[in-house]
């Protein structure tokens, strides 16, 4: 009797736990189903709008496929060979690097200097921040047109000013020697507000205690405070600004398209413009895709460096 009873109890227990397991399983399946149906649209679009296109770019770069053709064959790296043999691409590549090398330090130094100046006092902070940030969000295509007017060889404000001051003028956008620097100057003009805002946030996060400690330790002059506290504490932000501005500089397109079309000659041609022109004006799909791959590699490499740097930020907490 008692034996029978205990058996029944054990069985009931087994059934109960079995039921619980089933319920749990059902719950899991339901959650999985819910999750995938919530994420489903995003997943479908991520695949069709990001992942398939990336594979397609590589595929096109490695084949002889032409836009509209129904056949294609694998041609290995011959598209890349063609690209790197092309003087136009090499100029574009070198120009882009040069442009980045001017824009990044220029933006960082000016952005940091302005941020330091703004933060050093209390009055009119918002006003100064707004003014310096304005170019970053203004439509660059329209502003490029304004820049063109400023840079106009005869009626532009810049040459007018130079004439008045007795300094030799130039046809800034039509001169091979000046055009890239001018584009870089516009690039700095556009991005320095962005760097400034990031530096301002970085400055705000430096604890006042550190400046107090520096005061007591004797690092109380402007330069000593800058060297002991401010600049080291801005290290991670600076690295971040460096990468982000570099990425933006690599992706410069609007000013080239509106102001120079890569000219004169190839002297202001940059990667993204080359990519656009070859792919969509000349319809050289293989060539265009190879440029896209090169561009992709540079950008991804920069981003990965950024990710590493941001990880290292930890010991600065």
């Amino acid at each position: 009797m008692s034996l029978a009873a205990s058996t029944t109890a054990a069985e009931t227990g087994a059934i109960a736990s079995n039921g619980a397991r089933k319920a749990l399983q059902r719950h899991r399946i339901a959650e999985t189903f819910t999750a995938w149906s919530l994420a489903g649209p995003a997943l479908v679009f991520l695949v069709t709008l990001f992942f398939l296109p990336v594979f397609a770019v590589f595929a096109i770069a490695l084949t002889d496929w032409q836009f509209g053709a129904s056949t294609l064959s694998f041609v290995g790296f011959s598209n890349f060979k063609e690209v790197f043999a092309d003087e136009g691409f090499r100029a574009s590549f070198v120009n882009t690097i040069l442009y980045v090398v001017i824009v990044v330090p220029g933006t960082i130094i000016l952005g940091l200097a302005i941020a330091l100046l703004i933060e050093s006092g209390k009055s009119m902070r918002t006003f100064y921040r707004a003014i310096h940030f304005l170019p970053f969000m203004a439509t660059l295509t329209a502003m490029a047109i304004a820049w063109e007017a400023l840079l106009h060889p005869t009626i532009g404000l810049i040459n007018q000013t130079l004439v008045t001051l007795g300094i030799p003028t130039a046809n800034w956008l039509r001169d091979e020697d000046t055009v890239l620097s001018v584009l870089a100057a516009i690039g700095i003009w556009q991005n320095l507000g962005y760097a400034m805002v990031l530096f301002l946030a970085g400055l705000k996060s430096i604890p006042q205690d550190l400046y107090d400690a520096a005061d007591i330790d004797g690092a109380d002059m402007w330069l000593d405070r800058l060297r002991t506290v401010t600049l080291p504490m801005l290290g991670p932000v600076t690295m971040f600004v460096f990468i982000v501005v570099a990425l933006r500089a690599f992706e410069t397109f609007d000013t080239v398209q509106v102001l120079t079309q890569g000219g004169p000659g190839h002297s202001s041609e940059m990667l993204l413009y080359t990519l656009y022109r070859e792919s969509f004006q000349y319809l050289r799909t293989g060539y265009g895709s190879s440029v896209a791959v090169v561009f992709l590699i540079i950008v991804v490499a920069l981003t990965l460096i950024q990710a590493r740097v941001m990880d290292k930020k930890v010991h600065y907490q």
Partner: protein, 396 residues
């Protein structure tokens, strides 16, 4: 070696007054604690001492020198911050060396790269390294010199912060809540270490805290601050036993002192919360007074009577050797808290009625304006007096 003289120092931020004409003399080699709740102005006073903030009015001397307008660097003070304020990008050694480098090396010698090659730099740097190492050894952090602050525990960071202050042998140590970021156990340990350090160095310490146990255990004298005012400056025991101000009595002591509002009914007698207390003569009849009783001043009484409070037990907290009894007494406002020896109060339980007696000489009396009333003549004990019968009738 330097004492500190604070003369009518006031500080206001716009219309808000943070310090109201504080005056205080701190002896050379003294350990003085500024104690008060947050916002009382104690940190501001410390920062003014350090030169990090500038007073609105008043004057400060360190040693025999007036230091108003003197930069923090030149005041011969060192400071330990609540957050430690270690430079996160520098090693422990570099953190500790900084105050020495800033003082012993010229700005040219401190130049990165080039400075190293200037004449004299090497010798000075070596001496600095030696000083840093010695200080670090003394604090038991010699093995941490190459680490960065981010790799240290809270206690280790605390020691580095103390080391950075110590290394240049200042005349005055300023400490701004240096223990409040540590866990309870470590705090007790560091308390002893700082006290020990003070004994060893023999220089003036000014220590800011809101924690009365830190103030009571470490200081030669405690300065209690409230709302920008210095209420009392005295040795810890005196602050507790002989407060000059009602607010001091209320701030110091845990559990808190019970203060009953009473009226002087007759010469030597005050009435409150359903009972009468013997008070010194000479207090104006009819005046409002506060009758303060420390928790440990209560003893169990058999029955209700003069100098005895009666109420129902609201809460009993067992603390091991003692227990804290919270007693609801009619007319007392907040519950009365008494500290009783556990062995004598075993029968006590919540909801019961309890009688608690107080010896009149243990009462702390405060005038309506909060100032302490001190007995000018010994207090007659009305419990022992035969002709208080009418009064007994008034006891509810």
């Amino acid at each position: 070696m330097a004492g500190i003289l604070i003369d009518k120092v006031a500080k206001s931020f716009g219309a808000t007054s943070v310090l109201r004409e504080v005056s205080l003399a701190i002896a050379d080699g003294e350990f003085l604690t500024l104690l008060g709740p947050s916002g009382c102005g104690k940190s501001t006073l410390l920062r003014i001492l350090a030169g990090l903030d500038v007073q609105t009015s008043g004057s400060l001397s360190i040693g025999d020198r007036v230091v108003d307008g003197v930069r923090p660097k030149s005041r011969d003070v060192a400071m330990v911050f609540q957050s430690y304020a270690l430079y996160p990008h520098m090693t422990v050694a570099a953190n500790m060396a900084l105050p020495l480098r800033m003082r012993r090396l010229s700005s040219l010698q401190r130049l990165p790269m080039a400075g190293k090659f200037l004449p004299g730099t090497k010798a000075v740097t070596e001496r600095i390294d030696e000083d840093v190492r010695r200080t670090a050894e003394a604090l038991g952090i010699g093995h941490l010199l190459d680490r960065k602050p981010g790799q240290l525990s809270g206690g280790q960071r605390q020691r580095v912060a103390v080391g950075r202050a110590m290394v240049r042998q200042p005349a005055v140590f300023l400490m701004d809540e240096p223990l409040s970021n540590l866990d309870a156990k470590l705090r007790v340990q560091m308390r002893a270490e700082i006290k020990e350090l003070h004994k060893r160095l023999g220089v003036t310490f000014v220590y800011v805290t809101h924690d009365q146990s830190e103030a009571m255990t470490m200081s030669d004298r405690v300065a209690v601050m409230l709302d920008g005012e210095l209420l009392q400056v005295a040795p810890p025991q005196e602050i507790y036993a002989d407060p000059t101000d009602r607010r001091v009595a209320e701030f110091i002591g845990s559990p808190k002192i019970s203060i009953l509002d009473g009226i002087v009914e007759e010469t030597g007698i005050a009435m409150t919360a359903g009972t009468v207390f013997s008070i010194p003569k000479g207090i104006e009849l009819g005046s409002q007074i506060g009758i303060g009783i420390r928790p440990e001043a209560f003893v169990l009484a058999e029955k209700h009577g003069p100098n005895t409070l009666t109420g129902s037990i609201k809460l009993v907290e067992h603390m091991g050797s003692d227990l804290f009894v919270h007693l609801d007494v009619l007319g007392s406002g907040a519950p009365i808290i008494a500290r009783l020896l556990a062995e004598r109060a075993q029968h006590i339980g919540e909801g019961q009625t309890l009688h608690l007696g107080v010896r009149p000489d243990r009462l702390l009396l405060f005038a309506a304006d909060g100032m302490r009333i001190r007995p000018s003549s010994p207090t007659p004990d009305i419990t022992a007096n035969a002709n208080v019968l009418p009064l007994k009738e008034r006891v509810l």
